[in-house]
Symmetry: C2
Subunit: 143 residues, 2 copies
């Protein structure tokens, strides 16, 4: 196992560990999970959207989207209705309550992110985002 790759390995391991340790703290800080907030945020930006289109935006599995939205509906955060013109589609929108509460969530998220990146200069943030984007592309190209 060559020497240079030990460092590369650390990169991959760090990426994994960062995720594992971020997820619970994100939720305890903001009061909502990252994925759910992302869903709400997409809904915040539109009037109404089909589940399918929403799923494409957040890019997680259909099944997960269905379950999240079902629970968000139970909590009164979102509203779902079938498209009368094509009953296959379910349209989703933020409820009034959802639209109110997301503001608070987003503020907490901002604070959380500020903490995570607090010692990063603007330039560093740019470089980091660029690198992560490249990694993401590299991963897509597998198989």
């Amino acid at each position: 196992m060559s020497n240079s790759n030990i460092e590369d390995e650390k990169i991959i391991n760090r990426l994994y560990e960062i995720h594992r340790r971020t997820a619970p703290k994100f939720e305890s800080c903001t009061g909502i999970s990252q994925t759910r907030l992302e869903l709400l945020h997409e809904l915040y930006e539109v009037e109404e959207i089909s589940q399918r289109a929403l799923q494409k935006k957040v890019n997680i599995d259909h099944a997960a989207v269905t379950r999240h939205l079902k629970q968000l509906e139970e909590k009164g955060m979102v509203i779902r209705r079938k498209n009368p013109d094509d009953q296959r589609f379910t349209y989703v929108s933020l409820s009034e309550e959802g639209r109110t509460r997301i503001i608070h969530y987003r503020e907490e998220k901002e604070r959380f992110i500020s903490g995570v990146l607090n010692d990063f200069s603007a330039e560093e943030r740019k470089v980091l985002l660029d690198m992560l984007t490249r990694i993401q592309h590299n991963i897509e190209r597998f198989e």
Copy 2:
């Protein structure tokens, strides 16, 4: 929601998405999950170690460690035995088969990592690892 934070938000979202998309591909490429390979790798480096010490090294929850080791034991990859001098401790070691098979896993992991970082210069890798390490520290300091 201020403008600069949109970019910061992308960083956090990328980190999350990278993990989500890496995990399944890592496993399909190498034939084993990242966490399990990490466990095996720690075992590879020692003769025998207590579950507790192993857990501290890989830094995931006790419960997860127990379950992984139980399954790895069922597959004949590791051997577990109680410490006769202190029955609270369970010692774990790689079986012969485990010791053989990890070599292949590690090779595949190396290939995987090479793909993920293929367009990164040595300098970039260094910078990236440094940044990720800083992020990790920042996350630890929460709450």
